[in-house]
């Protein structure tokens, strides 16, 4: 358990313990502000000593995150946050390592590190800010921009198919995937707490609005008038119900997931899919991660939290074993091992 390798704080910390003295330079109205507030709220709840939190980021608007939270922090280079965080965590399992990254940072230039950190199940927490645009370079399409999206670098619309973050995470054998909206800070905190508890790589996709270069990108799911019908909040052990009248649900049909109405065509609440984020088989998790309007609501909350050995734990085990059984205890032993002779 990761909780066991990280020393906890003796006193109850508050959000002030994590408030930075730096001026937050995100645009007014940027979704990142709510995410920052959520982190300041959840870190005291997680309960580690404040010196044991470590943020690592790449490049992009979201990657300025480490400057705005008072922890150890490393703002690195484009795409490499996951590789750097890997080194931090492998070297010191006493640290709670958090990566702030974006859709360009982790899915384009850093795509390779992203899939491999997940595949290895290194115990870090990845906050993936997905605004479907390059914000810091002022508005070019990203690997998550929808097909046909008109941006500065795609004046006639993009001609490439976007990644679905959850699909990529599960394809890389991810053990934890969650999705949140930047509009609900309290919910973000709840999900981040789950991410922190998870042993292994956790990826939380944060659907975040770039008010300047991609305003309203997520509006089709966040708009007040229809959000009850476009958002499904997943709760462990509970049937998947959504809709303004709380009568719509997700059922596992013959050909995959289906949206059904409770009370119609003989459908009862007991026919609905019950969420099991701990299920090891990722099949249903993948279907849930891929759901989106207009045919489905988007799944929010923890979609998957499976238990699998972490790379850092396995590495520590190998070192323990080698130290317990190995004959070479110091470099003098090493230098004198094998064939040596006096001259």
């Amino acid at each position: 358990m990761s909780y066991n390798t990280i020393e906890r704080s003796k006193e109850q910390l508050t959000k002030e313990d994590f408030a930075s003295d730096q001026m937050v330079k995100w645009c007014p109205g940027c979704g990142n502000h709510a995410i920052l507030a959520a982190i300041e709220n959840v870190f005291p709840q997680i309960g580690y000593k404040k010196e044991n939190f470590c943020f690592v980021s790449g490049i992009g608007c979201s990657s300025r995150f480490p400057y705005y939270v008072n922890t150890y922090g490393f703002h690195s280079i484009h795409g490499r946050a996951n590789a750097i965080a890997t080194g931090v965590r492998l070297f010191n399992r006493g640290l709670s390592v958090w990566v702030a990254t974006g859709d360009g940072d982790s899915l384009a230039i850093g795509g390779n590190h992203f899939i491999h950190v997940i595949r290895r199940n290194i115990d870090i927490n990845i906050m993936l800010f997905n605004n479907e645009i390059y914000g810091l370079t002022k508005g070019q399409y990203s690997p998550t921009s929808p097909l046909g999206k008109v941006t500065k670098s795609s004046p006639q619309g993009t001609i490439e198919h976007p990644f679905t973050v959850g699909e990529l995470v599960l394809g890389a054998q991810g053990t934890f995937f969650a999705r949140v909206l930047d509009t609900n800070s309290k919910f973000i905190s709840e999900v981040m707490l789950e991410a922190a508890k998870h042993d292994g790589t956790s990826v939380v996709e944060m659907l975040q609005n770039c008010i300047i270069f991609n305003d309203g990108a997520h509006k089709y799911i966040t708009a007040k008038e229809n959000r009850d019908d476009t958002q499904l909040y997943l709760k462990q052990g509970e049937p998947m119900i959504f809709g303004k009248d709380r009568n719509k649900g997700i059922k596992l049909g013959e050909h995959g997931l289906e949206v059904v109405t409770v009370g119609e065509n003989g459908i009862a609440e007991t026919d609905l899919l019950v969420h099991d984020m701990y299920r090891f088989d990722p099949g249903i998790h993948l279907m849930l991660a891929k759901m989106k309007p207009p045919h489905f609501p988007i799944a929010l909350g923890v979609i998957r939290s499976a238990n699998a050995p972490t790379y850092d734990q396995l590495l520590a085990n190998q070192i323990d074993e080698a130290q317990a059984t190995g004959k070479i205890k110091c470099v003098d032993d090493l230098l004198n091992s094998g064939d040596t002779w006096e001259i």
Partner: protein, 612 residues
């Protein structure tokens, strides 16, 4: 049985084993050199293998070799060989040019069938025409005899045929009057889990030994002079192993555990493999998804308090350059080992070159000084890896250690040091709850910032690739601050010039000609200088270990010589660097870019030309 056996004394001898890759030439060479070392000879070895793992059987492309120089003093692997052991026509063809006229060629007549000759490009059998008339050729039916012996002991045909290399080795041991007890023990060790295999190999080797004794041509054998080295405990070591061990030694000495982030690349992979074996020393070794993740994971580990390293070769260093700039900017300790190979691009992966110097010195965006050091021999890799780690940690900056394929894969005798005798390493670790700690406060003398390790109470801070304010470390684009920080980072490296050891001059301290070199060429140049002694000219040799910064007394040395000749295995990168840093002197150049080390003969000719 040969009568009146005579034994000649020889100072040294070069033996090269060549055959198909997969014929076990590396094993043969290693067994031979280990035996020689245990017999009391100095040794130097170098493997020569193709980039392909198993190129077509009997083809020139598939020839693999291992050269061994044994004797009283063998600081190089030798220009040409005295004995060539060639397992097939292709290996003979590919290596004949390296055999000294009059040298011995031991080859297996069983391998000279029409197909093999054709594949090697021989239109007639070289054992029958005049191709080998200048050499002493011994070509018994090696496979036949080896097979007979091995099959008599119950080995199947295929495995039995493979013991032909042991038969050859037995013959070679006879020629040099070696005791078979030593290779027998080595074989027992190597095949500890398969004693049957060991027994067969021993029998075949003995058979080869006894067979050689019956040959008239070996009526006179030789005895190789014992090594003349300072007293002590020795071992054979390759440069890559020495590099790995030097890093482990620095980790132990500094109290900061080793983290290696690396990606397999020829000829540097052995460092990764070697360190992966030593988890009992607490080393954490991470095989990354690519070169970039290799260095980035190391940078992360460095931030977290590790002695962090990444090992690579030229193409990998190209990929790492952006991250290297981050380590310069963040001022984190990091050792980058570049085992250079022939370039550019994929180039000559298994061959040696010194052509990454320019990249090590200048290959980053912005003003981004790194410390650059170079190792001179396989054993020196241990000390330079240790030194690189010490410089990185004590100066909070990346250090590039340049070795190359020649010394990385080559081996030599190495006097085993005691770790307690190695220099101390004291990185500037910030103390918990130090109220004065700020990320970019510097030591007034050295300009080194402190290492505040995550997890330490009271030192939370942020660093990164964006320019930071002096002392406090907030993000800043202030012009004056940027100028100051650039200067600080540069001066931190340049001020080291007076703290690193003074540059030494071997040979004459002043005079007619100063040979200047760096890296793996030291042995050849030293040997060449010895050969031109007695010409009445005063020749000195300055071999540089510290390249960035150069030692403070460099100009003092240069001014005492009439001519300066810079010898390096590239187009003149060090010479160009010296013209930039010490423009007041004239530099002649001696360059070679063939993927091969200098030969002593080449250097002797160049030196003679210079002093004529």
């Amino acid at each position: 049985m040969a009568q009146n056996k005579q034994i000649h004394e020889k100072d040294s001898v070069v033996v090269k084993f060549v055959g198909d890759s997969g014929d076990g030439m590396q094993l043969l060479g290693t067994l031979f050199s280990d035996t020689a070392a245990l017999m009391g000879n100095d040794i130097a070895t170098f493997p020569d293998y193709p980039a392909e793992i198993r190129a077509p059987h009997n083809s020139i492309a598939g020839v693999s070799g291992f050269q061994v120089h044994i004797g009283k003093e063998t600081r190089i692997i030798g220009d040409s060989c005295d004995v060539l052991v060639a397992m097939n026509p292709a290996s003979l063809k590919a290596n004949l040019k390296w055999v000294r006229k009059g040298g011995v060629i031991l080859t297996d007549i069983d391998a000279y069938n029409a197909g093999a000759l054709e594949k090697a490009g021989y239109s007639s059998n070289p054992l029958e025409d005049s191709t080998l008339s200048s050499y002493m050729v011994v070509s018994p039916a090696i496979t036949t005899m080896a097979k007979e012996t091995a099959m008599a002991l119950g080995m199947d045909v295929k495995d039995a045929a493979r013991t032909k290399n042991m038969f050859c080795l037995g013959m070679i041991y006879y020629i040099f009057n070696f005791d078979l007890d030593i290779p027998f023990k080595l074989l027992d060790k190597r095949f500890a889990k398969k004693p049957g295999v060991s027994d067969v190999n021993k029998k075949v080797m003995e058979k080869g030994f006894n067979f050689a004794e019956t040959l008239e041509v070996f009526a006179s054998t030789c005895h190789i002079a014992k090594v003349n080295l300072p007293k002590g405990r020795y071992r054979n070591i390759t440069g890559n192993t020495a590099t790995a061990w030097g890093l482990l030694a620095a980790a132990e000495r500094s109290g900061h555990k080793l983290f290696l982030g690396s990606y397999p690349i020829t000829p540097a992979t052995d460092i990764l493999i070697e360190l992966a074996k030593h988890k009992s020393l607490g080393a954490k070794v991470f095989q990354a998804e690519d070169e970039i993740a290799g260095i980035c994971s190391a940078i992360g580990a460095s931030f977290a308090g590790a002695l962090a390293c990444t090992s690579t070769s030229g193409p990998g260093l190209s990929l790492k350059t952006e991250a290297l700039g981050l380590a310069v900017m963040a001022e984190l300790p990091l050792v980058v080992v570049d085992v250079q190979r022939g370039g550019p691009s994929t180039g000559l992966p298994t061959k040696t070159e010194q052509a990454d110097l320019g990249m090590a010195l200048f290959g980053r965006n912005g003003e981004a000084q790194c410390i650059v050091v170079a190792a001179a021999s396989p054993g020196d890799c241990f000390y330079q890896a240790f030194n690189a780690a010490k410089l990185a940690m004590e100066n909070m900056t990346p250090v590039i250690l340049l070795t190359d394929g020649y010394i990385g894969q080559g081996s030599e005798l190495f006097r085993i040091p005691k770790i307690a005798d190695m220099p101390t390493i004291t990185p500037p670790v910030a103390k918990a709850n130090d109220p004065d700690y700020t990320p970019y406060r510097r030591d007034a003398e050295t300009l080194v910032r402190q290492w505040a390790i995550p997890g330490t109470e009271g030192l939370r801070h942020r660093i990164g690739g964006l320019e930071k304010t002096d002392i406090y470390g907030a993000v800043s684009t202030d012009p004056q601050n940027h100028a100051l920080m650039v200067q600080n980072r540069k001066d931190k490296v340049m001020r080291l010039a007076s703290r690193i050891p003074k540059q030494e001059v071997m040979g004459e301290p002043e005079g007619d000609l100063l040979l200047v070199s760096w890296g793996s060429t030291k042995g050849q140049i030293q040997t060449a200088i010895k050969e031109v002694q007695g010409t009445g000219k005063k020749i000195g040799h300055a071999h540089f270990t510290n390249i960035m910064p150069l030692p403070a007394n460099t100009a003092d040395i240069f001014k005492r010589f009439k001519n300066i000749l810079v010898c390096e295995l590239n187009g003149g990168q060090f010479a160009g660097y010296l013209r930039m840093t010490h423009p007041q002197y004239q530099y002649q150049q001696c360059n070679k870019i063939q993927g091969l080390p200098f030969t002593v003969e080449e250097l002797v000719n160049v030196i003679k030309n210079q002093i004529k």
